[in-house]
């Protein structure tokens, strides 16, 4: 493999990381909202949230991506395929992250909020200062897990025409007739990226250990 071709693979790996990271962050934000709606006592909030979760968890990501990609022009939205890809990944991970967060929020001991009540923290201050930080810490391992799943699932976005690591490997394998080489390199790069994510996760957990120990 020439350095030039390896450089292309690295660039594609960068695209994979960037698209996945953006999707996970957008997904976390949407996940927060969906989770808040899901635990709401108002039916017209909790029901749509439950439907959202069951749809995006129940339909294969590949089908979701193809749906979004082909549906948007129907609404007169001609967006670049990378935007459709990020939308698909974000919505899918949001459904899973909403459920993770719901578990985290339910695990925050009620007494911690009573203590906050007694010193006069408003419901919003309790969310910002007590509930969200604790729920996020509790869901950190699940969040890392989700990040790794999304990094791998992002290989599917090649179907909507986004060139990322898997698609680049396909292209180069086809033009050089050396599929084994390029798919091995792609696999290796995925592995390295996920090692780094997992390593970052354990580092964060170790830093938080001090609080829990």
């Amino acid at each position: 493999m020439t350095p030039r071709l390896f450089e292309l693979m690295l660039w594609a790996a960068g695209a994979t990381v960037l698209i996945s990271a953006v999707s996970i962050l957008i997904g976390l934000a949407i996940g927060f909202l969906v989770c808040a709606a899901r635990v709401s006592r108002t039916r017209w909030l909790s029901t749509p949230a439950a439907v959202f979760v069951s749809f995006f968890r129940g339909v294969p990501l590949l089908v979701q991506l193809l749906l979004i990609y082909n549906l948007l022009p129907g609404f007169g939205l001609y967006v670049p395929s990378v935007v459709a890809a990020i939308a698909g990944l974000s919505l899918c991970t949001a459904a899973y992250q909403a459920e993770n967060l719901r578990g985290g929020f339910m695990s925050v001991p009620k007494g911690l909020l009573e203590a906050a009540d007694m010193v006069g923290l408003s419901p919003w201050q309790q969310m910002r200062r007590i509930r969200a930080p604790i729920a996020l810490r509790l869901t950190l391992p699940a969040l890392i897990n989700e990040a790794i799943l999304i990094l791998k699932a992002s290989s599917l976005i090649s179907v909507v025409g986004v060139v990322e690591l898997t698609r680049m490997a396909q292209n180069l394998a086809a033009s050089t007739y050396r599929p084994l080489l390029f798919y091995s390199v792609a696999g290796g790069l995925y592995l390295v990226i996920n090692w780094l994510v997992a390593g970052g996760g354990s580092l964060a957990e170790r830093m938080l250990k001090k609080e829990r120990a």
Partner: protein, 269 residues
């Protein structure tokens, strides 16, 4: 409302408070006056309703009937002349509750904040004090409970007794007029209860108004100026310790104290 806030009036007045959980009525029309500057101890067997009463005073539980006046101001509900109760809006509840600090059986420290962070949180978030001033005040409170050298520790790095002392410092930080303690030593190892009781004793000597739900009968008898003995959701006895613990003793109290024979209350029985 005819009750007027005066610095000499009672700290808390409980009027006809009942609490029902579904079909179970755990408090039956409790009347109680908590005097200013002294320690009131609520004692009684498990399930007598003493913790529920304290939680109603803190408005962590909403009484199903009756009213609670803190410093003359109604907390949570007001009662009109016709006896109809109206629920007060949240800002009023927060304003009246600001006079009360609470210490819980399970400490309830926020695990992601240091000891100092726990103590300073409300000073920063609610009172909006600048960091430096909040931390100075927080350190002063930690010093009061003897833990200034643990300021940077997380709750998980502290013993149960130390955690409870941090929780007391947190409750003191907002300078409440009344401190409520809900079985503050019940989840502590016996050898750690002393350090918490000592802090509470010092607060009592400083003239803090305190309401303490406790199983520490020795503490109640020596520090309490006012004892209320609850049984089956009613205040059975109410008065100074000499009167409540002195002879002739109420048979229910006698029976209750016997279970404490092996818990250091032997001198009383």
């Amino acid at each position: 409302m005819t009750e007027v806030s005066t610095p000499t009036g009672p700290a808390i007045v409980v009027k006809g408070v009942s609490k029902r959980f579904g079909d179970l009525e755990v408090l039956h029309g409790i009347d109680l006056r908590i005097d200013r500057g002294t320690t009131t101890c609520l004692i009684g067997p498990s399930g007598s309703g003493k913790s529920t009463l304290l939680r109603c005073i803190a408005f962590l539980e909403e009484a199903t009937a009756g009213t609670i006046l803190v410093d003359g101001a109604p907390l949570g509900f007001t009662e009109g002349p016709d006896g109809a109760r109206t629920r007060l809006p949240a800002p009023s509840i927060r304003a009246v509750r600001a006079k009360i600090g609470m210490v819980f059986q399970q400490f309830n420290l926020w695990p992601h904040m240091t000891a100092l962070g726990n103590v300073c949180e409300a000073l920063r978030t609610v009172r909006r004090l600048p960091r430096k001033e909040a931390e100075e005040r927080g350190m002063a409170q930690l010093r009061k409970v003897g833990l200034e050298n643990r300021a940077g520790h997380y709750p998980s790095q502290l013993s149960g007794g130390q955690q409870q002392r941090v929780a007391i410092a947190r409750a003191l930080a907002l300078e409440p007029e009344i401190l409520l303690f809900d079985e503050p030593t019940s989840s502590l190892d016996p050898e750690l209860t002393g350090e918490v009781l000592n802090v509470m004793r010092a607060l009592a000597e400083d003239g803090m108004s305190m309401v303490v739900v406790t199983h520490e009968i020795g503490f109640a008898a020596t520090v309490g100026r006012h004892i209320a003995f609850l049984d089956h959701g009613r205040v059975l006895l109410d008065g100074p310790p000499e009167e409540v613990f002195g002879a002739p003793r109420h048979p229910r109290l006698e029976q209750f104290l016997e279970t404490y024979l092996d818990r250091g209350a032997a001198t009383l029985v």
